[in-house]
Amino acid sequence: MKQRAFARVIDLGQASVRDLNQALHDLGPDSNATHWQVLNPRGRHALAVGVDAEVTIEIAGHAGYYCAGMNKRATVVVHGNVGVGAAENMMSGLVHVRGDASQAAGATARGGTLVIDGNAAARCGISLKGGDIVVKGSVGHMSAFMAQAGTLVVLGDAGDSLGDSIYEAHLYVRGTVAGLGADCIEKPLADRHRAELHAKLQLAGLAGQVDVGAFRRYGSARQLYHFHVDHADAY
């Protein structure tokens, strides 16, 4: 992480996570503290959670669980890995993980963009509610489980049970899918999907570098929208 002269620096070797989050929550609309750098995170949990401000927060190292949880409007960059539930229930803004993400990355995210440069573990995008997730590596099993809305774009592979019980979220995977979950099927990649995919890749800074045609689209077969006894074994 580059030092920036104008940034506010919080060293978690001395300050507490409570100090960090309170400082971020106390930001008023007229504050000029628009750039923050957090040193020595050392896997601590709940870093930069509940932020509601147009600021940039850089975390210099690995973060623990729920990094940038419920983020609104902020840009959070983690120069390392993140633990469980990164950007969970994000509302808007951008969370960029330079390393890998643990389980439930982007869980229930309603808006905003989560970009993961490395791999994400199981249940990436679980219960997604409108956010966008772009994973440059691979995702683990049960990703996009019960995903309701939003998009998950995976440049690498996807683990087993992709999109199990999916509703209307859009899934795009370039690599191999180990297996599809209940009610999740491959769907044709029409022009409007290519356009959507292009837009999401652009958010991740990959515009022009990746061929959208190399992806396959997956989504709901909609057989579980109304219970029918013939589909009972999908439950």
């Binding site: 050392r42 896997g43 601590r44 949990h45 190292g61 690995h62 623990g64 669980y65 890995n81 633990g83 469980v84 390393g99 890998d100 643990s102 389980q103 573990a121 199981a122 683990g140 099993h141």
Partner: protein
């Protein structure tokens, strides 16, 4: 529900500091395991000898016990007391005789673990205090595993703490909650195995012991548990020359590993690994579900 830590040294310096690192890792997992703690350290073996880790009531005179035991055995008996525990070192040929003698001389003592290098300690109390009680920070060894416990469905007792010994130089720690352990316990009892607690982890430990007695390799025994055990689990098994890791197929309980050219480490959370030397440059990854991983010094 719990925290697990593990460290496998690849160089002599880490071996010398093994206990210090493990003590710190254990303390970092206190929040998720406040009730009790335990650890197994694979300390340098004594040529031709076997170690028995014993646990007794507070204030027990292990030195006097060792002296009395010398009268019953042919060879030497060395003793290293640490709090409520002590490691007795006897000739390998006398291991059985020593156990039999202890059973009659000191039935109030529990043999917590036996091995050529393994020393096993566990107690009720906050993990940092448990580590201090046994002077973990001073211990050296090739590898070690540790556990902090938040009891779910059984009592907070020393017997309920992990690790559980599963055989010579072998022990198990567990994070998660099994759901079919009562039935397995009944079956294992029928086969002649004994239990000290109502704990689900003890069932997993005895299950593995039984499978190993049947002749299965540790790898095969762990893979068998994927079919036979129901519930959520991350298992770490300490062996004479390394350790093994297994996560259940759903893999809800987290697990993180890190490797450098100096060590391989395991932690339930990355926080447990954050202070290891060179961790900034380590390869950090999460074990895949339903996959047995093994690290072995001989490899």
């Amino acid at each position: 529900m719990c925290g697990i830590v593990g460290l496998f040294a690849k160089d002599a310096a880490i071996q010398m500091e093994l206990g210090a690192h493990l003590a710190r890792m254990l303390a970092s997992m206190s929040d998720r395991g406040p009730d009790s703690a335990g650890f197994a350290v694979y300390a340098p073996p004594v040529e031709g000898a076997v170690k028995l880790t014993l646990r007794g009531p507070a204030g027990y005179d292990f030195v006097a016990l060792a002296a009395a035991l010398r009268g019953r055995l042919w060879g030497t008996v060395a003793v290293q007391p640490r709090g409520t525990h002590a490691v007795l070192v006897v000739a390998a040929t006398e291991a059985v005789a020593a156990r039999d003698a202890l059973a009659t001389m000191a039935p109030e003592l529990v043999v917590v673990g036996i091995g050529c290098s393994m020393e096993l300690y566990k107690e009720v109390g906050p993990p940092a205090e448990v580590a201090r009680q046994f002077q973990l920070a001073d211990m050296q060894g090739s590898h070690g595993i540790g556990h902090t416990r938040m009891a779910t469905e059984s009592a907070v007792t020393t017997d309920g703490a992990h690790p559980y010994s599963t055989g010579l130089d072998q022990c198990l720690v567990h994070n998660g909650s099994l759901s079919n352990h009562n039935t397995l316990r009944r079956e294992l009892r029928r086969l002649g195995y004994g239990f000290d607690t109502e704990n689900d982890t003890e069932v997993a430990a005895v299950y593995l012991t039984a499978k190993l007695h049947e002749g299965l390799s540790l790898d095969a025994a762990l893979r068998g548990s994927l079919d036979d055990l129901d519930g959520f689990y991350t298992f770490v098994v300490g062996t004479e020359t390394g350790f093994a890791v297994l996560r259940d197929p759903i893999a809800c309980k987290p697990a993180v590993m890190a490797e450098t050219d100096r060590f391989v480490a395991f932690g339930t959370e990355y926080r447990a690994l954050a202070d290891l030397p060179g961790i900034e440059q380590a390869r950090v990854w999460e074990p895949e579900p339903a996959t047995v991983y093994q690290w072995d010094r001989r490899a």
